[in-house]
């Protein structure tokens, strides 16, 4: 089994630069077991959740490690025994982990309902990809509400926006790649927007956080496919930026959690996933839950990425090459 896993992951791993942890922090419980969590969510955003978990499960300490969503697969391929729980915004990569047999099945949690795949991958947030604008840059200009309107706004005044556009570098970010591929599936408008971005020397980012920082500082005017939820967790930036959920379609991802099958602390790991999913379903009971829960989004037209084997398609090596080729030719001129 282990051989099988390393074989199937090595192709993926070799395609990426050496993966390493961006951050690692220990949240101490009273004593007892240590739960090693590998997450794509920044520590400062996730800390309240981990603390809430430890309050409920005082005997568990949490070793919280952060890595880029694309690096997570590589890190697990390199050391499958190093982590117990994987939390990631890249649904496709999480699904692949489960599909390849690395995730433990948790039939008890599947009973709670909600979005899950194979009783292994559990969605616990609902976060749309948004367009975030620098407020000052749009002073006196109409705020675009759809991709088409954004394209028109950029074309109307290309020099104003040149070099001031930002989006994910899909080659580095797993979440960026997921958003881009799902956008491409949904509409051709995505490619036209990317061509406009390419023409206007768009900046490429690894993470939503950096984009929001640059938006707040005025470095960027428009960021496309940013997690609005990140901006909302930073009150100091909220008055400088405007978060727009596109009205044509809003690709929405679920942050998912899974328990690695190799874990020795299955009980604590399951408790963590259970805590996350229950938090998602009863957000009103958890005021401290910083991420938008599945229950929070009401009648909005969201294009939620569904957890099904279709997600494996864009992870195919050939498919990825073709997509990156198209993306590069649109964006990198």
């Amino acid at each position: 089994m282990r051989n099988f896993v390393s074989v199937i992951l090595c192709l993926w791993a070799s395609a990426l630069a050496a993966a390493e942890l961006e951050d690692r922090q220990m949240f101490h419980g009273e004593d007892g077991v240590t739960l090693r969590v590998l997450s794509s969510t920044d520590t400062d955003i996730f800390a309240p959740i981990v603390e809430g978990f430890i309050t409920r499960n005082p005997s568990v300490s949490v070793d919280y490690a952060v890595a880029g969503s694309a690096d997570i697969l590589t890190l697990i391929a390199e050391c499958g025994d190093c982590f117990d729980v994987v939390i990631s915004s890249a649904m496709d990569l999480q699904l692949k982990l489960a599909n390849d047999g690395l995730a433990r099945r948790l039939p008890g949690l599947a009973q709670q309902g909600g979005s899950q795949w194979r009783q292994s991958v559990f969605g616990f947030t609902l976060e749309p990809a948004t367009v975030v604008l620098n407020r000052a840059a749009f002073e006196g200009r109409p705020l675009p509400t759809t991709r088409q309107e954004l394209i028109e706004a950029l074309r109307a005044d290309p020099e104003h926006f040149r070099g001031r556009l930002g989006t994910y570098d899909v080659r580095l970010s797993g979440l960026g790649y997921l958003f881009a591929t799902q956008d491409a599936r949904a509409s051709e408008t995505f490619w036209r927007l990317m061509e406009v971005f390419g023409n206007l020397d768009a900046q490429l980012y690894c993470c939503s956080g950096d984009m929001i920082d640059d938006l707040a500082s005025g470095e960027l005017f428009v960021a496309y496919n940013v997690l609005g939820s990140y901006a909302q967790t930073r009150p100091e930036t909220l008055d400088k930026v405007t978060i727009i959920t596109p009205e044509d379609f809003a690709t929405t991802m679920m942050r998912t959690a899974l328990v690695l099958d190799s874990t020795d602390v299955g009980g604590a790991a399951e408790a963590m996933v259970s805590y996350l999913t229950s938090g998602a379903w009863s957000a009103q009971d958890r005021p401290g839950f910083p991420l938008p829960s599945i229950g929070d989004e009401d009648a909005q037209v969201l294009n939620v990425v569904s957890l099904d084997p279709g997600l494996l398609v864009y992870l195919d090596r050939l498919k990825r090459e073709l997509f990156l080729e198209a993306w590069s030719s649109a964006l990198l001129r």
């Binding site: 099988f4 390849d100 084997p309 398609v313 090596r317 050939l318 073709l322």
Partner: protein, 451 residues
């Protein structure tokens, strides 16, 4: 003849229940097998569709195969049980993309679409493989596409169908078992009904069985009827023979008795007289027995073809008392008839007279001298009671006494054949009545003839 008794009904029941159980199990297995085939076909069709869409997405560019995997190729493999999906694309024998080790070369384009069930990635998967030769320049390129899916959903479907099939099979079995019980009972019912009807008959009822019976039973009934006819004929013959013999014996006996009595008058020697007396006594006994045998034969004959007439029981009894009073007086006994007004019934006067005479005879025989024999005619219910003051019936023999040739243990040397009570009982039964024997508290006994 088998050692242990067998029950037709039980055998029938178990055979039917066993058959039902066998059918239920067979039903379950057939449904399950069929469901398995259907479910497998369903999975195979989807795998084939996925495979085809992958195959169609392949193009050859500069001798190199490119596959732009359509989203639907995998999305269509989404199942209720979230089955895992594996795939592999080979150019020639070299893996182009997908999971290594899923399918192994060499691949042959002439094989066509191939389905296999095998282990992969720690699970059992259904694997579909298709190889095609794509035209590319001088030599065609071999493209092999493989798609595999775990079988969780299939197993779930199969389990659900199995549970349903088992429930249906069980319900079918319970229903069939109930019907088996009912069928076997109703099949055996005519048999037990016939047995009951035959068992209910009186001991002398040898009429053929005429009630309608199932055709399967008619040979048995025919044999039974033929046996009864023969038995009846044989019985009649014996009775006739006995009556004839008794009749033939009685007349010479009377002659012998007359001669013996005449001789008794003439001899003087005491030992000779004693010998003659015991001779007369023996002759009396034989004569009486012969008479009772005749009576019995007559009762048997007339009982079978009962002649009912309006008769007065008191009249019959009075006539008998008058006739037997001399006999009673010889033994210093008194005959008393208790009756007020005539008691009329439907019956055969000769039989009833015979029965009452035998009862009075008995009473006279067993009464001590100076005693009284009481004859009472009752009206409600109609009965004739004959009571004596003798030693009574032995209690433990009460039921056997009315059988033929059965005498009480205390009969001693009293002359008797043991047929008296039998005759009385046969008469009572021929009239639909019965004979009851009872001992009186203060000594003596009563025989009551209910009609």
């Amino acid at each position: 003849m088998r050692g242990s008794a067998t029950s037709l009904r039980r055998r029938l029941t178990w055979t039917l229940i066993g058959g039902a159980a066998l059918l239920a199990v067979l039903f379950f297995l057939v449904v399950r097998t069929y469901a398995q085939q259907i479910a497998q076909q369903g999975q195979d069709r989807i795998l084939e569709a996925s495979l085809t869409s992958l195959m169609d997405a392949a193009v050859v560019r500069d001798g190199q195969i490119e596959v732009d995997v359509p989203y639907a190729a995998f999305a269509m493999l989404d199942t209720a049980a979230d089955d895992r999906v594996f795939y592999a694309v080979h150019q020639g024998d070299a893996l182009l993309t997908g999971y290594d080790g899923l399918a192994e070369g060499p691949f042959d384009p002439s094989v066509g679409l191939d389905f296999q069930t095998q282990a992969f990635g720690g699970a059992e998967v259904r694997l579909a493989t298709l190889t095609r030769a794509l035209p590319a320049g001088p030599a065609p390129v071999l493209l092999t596409v493989s798609v595999a899916q775990t079988r969780d959903s299939l197993a779930g479907t199969l389990w659900a169908i199995s549970v349903n099939a088992a429930l249906f099979g069980g319900a079918f079995f319970v229903l069939a078992a109930g019907m088996a019980l009912w069928t076997s009972r109703s099949t055996v019912r005519p048999l037990s009904q016939m047995a009951e009807a035959v068992a209910r008959r009186g001991p002398r009822d040898l009429r053929p069985v005429v009630r309608p019976v199932p055709t399967e039973l008619s040979p048995l009934v025919t044999s039974l009827n033929s046996l009864m006819t023969r038995l009846s004929a044989s019985l009649t013959q014996s009775e006739t023979f006995i009556a004839e013999a008794a009749h033939r014996v009685r007349t010479p006996l009377a002659t012998v008795r007359t001669h013996a009595e005449a001789t008794l008058m003439r001899v003087d020697k005491d030992e000779n007289r004693a010998a003659l007396r015991s001779m007369i006594r023996a002759i009396d006994e034989s004569s009486r027995a012969a008479g009772q045998l005749l009576d019995h034969a007559m009762v048997t004959f007339r009982g079978d073809q009962l002649e009912r007439r309006q008769i007065d029981l008191v009249g019959i009894c009075r006539e008998l008392v008058d006739r037997l009073t001399p006999v009673a007086e010889m033994k210093d006994l008194e005959l008393v008839l208790l009756a007020d007004g005539p008691v009329e019934v439907q019956g055969d006067p000769i039989l009833i007279q015979n029965a009452v005479r035998n009862l009075i005879d008995n009473a006279l025989k067993y009464s001590p001298p100076e005693g009284t024999v009481r004859i009472e005619v009752r009206r409600d219910p109609v009965a004739i009671v004959v009571c004596d003051e003798g030693g009574g019936f032995p209690a433990e023999q009460m039921t056997e006494l009315s059988q033929r040739f059965q005498r009480g243990a205390n009969a001693g040397d009293t002359v008797g054949s043991g047929l008296g009570l039998t005759i009385a009982q046969d008469v009572a039964e021929a009239h639909g009545g019965r004979l009851e024997l009872a001992n009186l508290d203060g000594g003596g006994a009563c025989a009551t003839l209910y009609l």
